[in-house]
């Protein structure tokens, strides 16, 4: 059973690793404090809020936990230790995550004194009807898959007349399953759609360099929220401190909402975010759109189990605004029809789909309609477009739809990521878009067409700006890195199912 007030307090501190620093003597504390124990009365009102969310720590000492307490048993053996920040000014307990310990001797002395980065994860196991406990006292090595990156807020240099993408981030776990020609990303056992949303949002903030307090709205699109009722967006807003923070009550001045439309839950909101930042009276400089999914699929021998060959895990986040834009939105077109090609009823753990329906009358029809209408609207030919990317439920569909629309391989190959990550549902076409933005030159045109079962498609035409190059230097955790990192770890089918089921 969860205690709601306890969960609120532990998450509020633990998700962001909030602390305090005495501005008189410099002493740092994990957990917020109104005064400094060293300086006493005179330090009242002189404590500054700090947090270790973007910081780099050091694993000082550690041990292997092979017999965890009840709520940690599903993790298997793990490394637990003491992490110090700022040369020992503050110390916290922490567990290494993203780490599958083999059944062999572990020399802990080679792990000690290495640099680590906090990761936002599920804290421990919880019952099906309990609050999902989260924490950032989980860490991974800074020189491995997930690099340390300095969080820096930069002053905007240039105003644009058209809204567009200001920054973006992709988060895919380091674990993969490889079957035939397709590799798929899978969550570590302490990950889910919530954790990927926060990590993707963090990456977008690192890339954009915008002041998070200037983000006025966050949309999170997902179809695998562990909650039927309770938004992921509120977690993203609180952990990433979006909007002005009212510290006394721990409230963020930001609008946060979850959206759902199968795999287009996020892309649908690109236009809303753009419109919002464009609307002069809104006074919202930036809006964030996150697409996240721990894509669900029944086990292979069950009904709907064919999806189990394609589902992935990951999130993407895009920040929209009118300053320091890297890709302007030229136009969009969306279409919708009531086509029940894929669904998941309330209380059902896995979705079903209508077999042949998912192809021609669903996927192809809507994507082609949206793409053609948008090109007509802009009087564009396929040859006027440098990059084409569509929703990627498998390898075949996006290639076929691209060819039928008249695109060549060099136009669609950059965005084709399904063979690396699987179908990441709400994150699918956005991750393709991110891969394109990772390598596009200035003044290149991108056509992205998402698809959501149910059914509908959103097409956007984007034009890259000169600033795309300079901002690229800010992000080391690129899509390419997440495909090619030497630290990617492959697991077998049983481990994949275990990780997928989670804590």
């Amino acid at each position: 059973m969860s205690s709601e007030p306890i969960e609120r307090r532990v998450s509020y501190i633990g998700d962001r690793l909030r602390g305090s620093q005495c501005s008189i003597c410099g002493k740092e504390y994990f957990r917020t404090k109104d005064y400094c124990g060293k300086c006493g009365r005179k330090s009242f009102g002189k404590m500054e809020d700090i947090d270790f969310f973007y910081e780099k720590g050091k694993l000082e000492v550690c041990t292997v936990v092979r017999e965890p307490t009840n709520k940690f048993t599903k993790l298997g053996p793990y490394i637990y230790g003491i992490i110090s920040f700022h040369d020992g000014k503050a110390r916290v307990p922490g567990r290494l995550t993203d780490c599958v310990l083999k059944d062999e001797e572990i020399d802990i002395s080679v792990l000690e004194d290495r640099e680590v980065v906090p990761r936002f994860r599920r804290r421990c196991a919880a019952g099906q009807s309990d609050i999902v406990p989260t924490i950032s006292l989980a860490f991974s090595f800074a020189d491995e898959y997930y690099p340390y990156q300095r969080h820096e807020i930069t002053k905007p240099k240039k105003e644009y007349e058209t809204p567009g993408i200001v920054g973006y981030g992709v988060y895919v776990s380091k674990f993969r399953i490889k079957e035939g020609a397709i590799e798929r990303s899978i969550p570590f056992i302490d990950e889910d759609a919530i954790t990927a949303a926060v990590e993707a949002g963090k990456m977008a903030l690192l890339h954009a360099g915008v002041d998070p307090t200037h983000i006025g709205k966050v949309y999170v699109g997902s179809e695998s929220n562990p909650y039927a009722v309770k938004p992921i967006a509120s977690k993203v807003a609180q952990v990433l401190k979006l909007g002005e923070e009212e510290k006394l009550e721990g409230v963020q001045s930001v609008d946060a909402v979850d959206t759902e439309f199968a795999c287009k839950a996020a892309t649908s909101m690109f236009k809303d975010a753009s419109a919002l930042v464009y609307y002069p009276r809104a006074h919202i400089p930036y809006a964030m759109v996150v697409g996240t999914d721990n894509s669900q699929a029944a086990p292979r021998d069950e009904l709907g189990g064919e999806l189990d060959f394609f589902v992935g895990y990951g999130g993407s986040a895009f920040i929209f605004g009118m300053r320091d834009v890297i890709a302007e939105i030229e136009a969009w077109y969306s279409c919708t029809s009531d086509t029940p090609d894929f669904w998941r009823r309330d209380l059902e753990p896995y979705p079903r789909h209508g077999g042949r329906f998912t192809g021609d009358p669903a996927y192809f029809k809507h994507i082609q309609k949206a793409a053609r209408r948008l090109m007509e609207k802009l009087r564009l030919q396929p040859s006027d477009i440098d990059y084409f990317v569509s929703h990627q439920p498998n390898v075949r569909f996006p290639i076929r739809v691209a060819s039928e629309l008249g695109f060549k391989e060099d136009q669609y190959s950059a965005g084709l990521q399904v063979a690396k990550f699987g179908n990441t549902y709400s994150g699918s076409s956005p991750i393709g878009l991110a891969a394109i933005l990772d390598e596009a030159k200035p003044s290149e045109r991108i056509l992205i067409v998402s698809y959501g079962s149910g059914a509908g498609a959103d097409a956007y035409c984007l034009m890259t700006t000169d600033q795309i190059r300079e901002k690229r230097l800010r992000q080391k955790f690129t899509v390419k890195h997440q495909c090619e990192s030497e630290h990617i770890e492959y697991v077998n089918y049983d481990t994949y199912r275990r990780f997928k089921l989670g804590l």
Partner: protein
């Protein structure tokens, strides 16, 4: 001042271990009756009661413990409940010394084996919630402390082997003592090889035989003011030092993680209160929740210098003669088998430690009576709550100065 010291006039305890058929109230009753009998007092003489259990309400979901004690003892006197036996004793000493009560019952009980299913979770949660959230276990903090110790004193190679052996010897020694203790949970010898083998099995620096077990048990004593003590027992044991100290609950946030600051502070003030020196103490019951903590306690209580206790332990245990030899002096440590082998029913543990010192000082310890080269005068008891979050030190004396 010295004339106002309170005295222990009777002690009693149950066997530690698993008491499947007995509820906590049965255990405390048994311990209390034994203590009363040994003191030669009547039920009606008791003016107040201080009882302790660490987390009985949480683990066993029982009601207000004092109510149970009232029901079986048919006493309606003031009763206070604390977390550890030493804490109950300290409060009782304060009350008796203030002149409020003449005869006080101090008791402790724990029934841990009732909750094998979740006892480690509860232990960890009470020990340090933030570490629990991060995945810590009750054993992991001991491992981390050992790593910190090894790194701080730059112990490696041959020295590290010796340190590891010294810790193994502590387990062997405590099991050896427990064989002569009829109340002890474990009554079998272990060998260094066995301790090391369990470490290998666990693939850890501390293994099964390095940790105290989970236990059920109860302990009690009768504390009396100095005037009354002179009337009753023929051999009152005086509580000449009684002190406690407190440290941060989050272990990683403590400045020094190779010692327990609370133990050091508590020992200093207890010595001051007793007006004696560390060297005057011949017997010590220390809180060996793990073998490591016995070693750390020797340093915290200033018997050994910092970073040196393992040398003293190793040298003394090569040919163990029943005591640690530190700078030419004999120190008898955990002669009841310690928490390791006597057992560790948290709320009752301190009572067993006091029980042992009382028996030894009175010369009533039977075949485990220590062979001291001088007359036994002082013994001390260190009890911890949590992972060094609280420390209590009591100094007991055979005779007043």
């Amino acid at each position: 001042m010295s004339s106002s010291y309170p005295a222990i006039i009777g002690v009693g305890r149950t066997k530690f271990g698993e008491h499947y058929e007995k509820g906590p109230e049965i255990l405390i009753e048994e311990a209390w009756l034994k203590a009363s009998e040994s003191a030669g007092i009547e039920r009606k003489n008791i003016e107040a009661c201080y009882s302790s259990d660490y987390f009985l309400q949480l683990t066993n979901k029982i009601g207000i413990e004092e109510g149970f004690i009232s029901e079986f003892s048919e006493l309606h006197v003031p009763m206070e409940k604390t977390r550890s036996f030493s804490s109950a004793l300290l409060n009782a000493c304060n009350a008796v010394q203030s002149g409020k009560y003449g005869i006080v019952l101090v008791g402790g009980v724990e029934k841990m084996t009732d909750r094998w299913d979740k006892i480690r979770d509860d232990l960890m949660l009470l020990e340090d919630p933030w570490s629990y959230y991060a995945g810590c276990t009750p054993e992991a903090n001991h491992e981390l402390m050992l790593r910190e110790y090894i790194k701080k004193y730059k112990i490696s190679g041959k020295s590290l082997e010796t340190l590891n052996l010294a810790l193994a010897h502590i387990a062997v020694k405590n099991h050896h003592h427990a064989r002569m203790n009829e109340y002890a949970q474990f009554q079998s010898e272990v060998s260094v090889d066995k301790v090391l083998k369990e470490r290998l099995n666990a693939r850890k620096s501390l293994g099964l035989y390095d940790f105290a077990p989970i236990s059920d048990g109860a302990t009690a004593l009768i504390l009396a003011s100095s005037e009354i003590a002179k009337e009753y027992g023929d051999a009152p044991i005086w509580v000449v030092g009684s002190s406690s100290a407190t440290d941060y609950i989050t272990f990683p946030s403590r400045d020094d993680r190779t010692s327990f600051m609370a133990s050091t502070i508590a020992m200093k003030s207890a010595l001051k209160m007793a007006d004696i020196d560390t060297k005057d103490i011949q017997l010590a019951e220390v809180y060996d929740q793990s073998t490591l903590l016995e070693m750390i306690a020797l340093e915290d209580l200033s018997f050994s210098q910092r970073g040196k206790a393992w040398h003293h332990i190793y040298q003394s245990c090569k040919d163990y003669e029943g005591f640690y030899e530190i700078d030419g002096r004999r120190l008898f440590v955990n002669t009841n088998g310690g928490l390791k082998a006597d057992g560790n029913p948290l709320g009752a543990t301190g009572g067993a430690q006091v029980f042992e010192i009382v028996k030894q000082l009175r010369g009533e310890a039977g075949n485990r009576q220590v062979r001291s080269d001088s007359e036994l005068r002082y013994g001390c008891v260190l009890e911890l709550e949590g992972f060094g979050t609280k420390a209590y030190v009591h100094i007991l004396a055979r005779e007043l100065k």
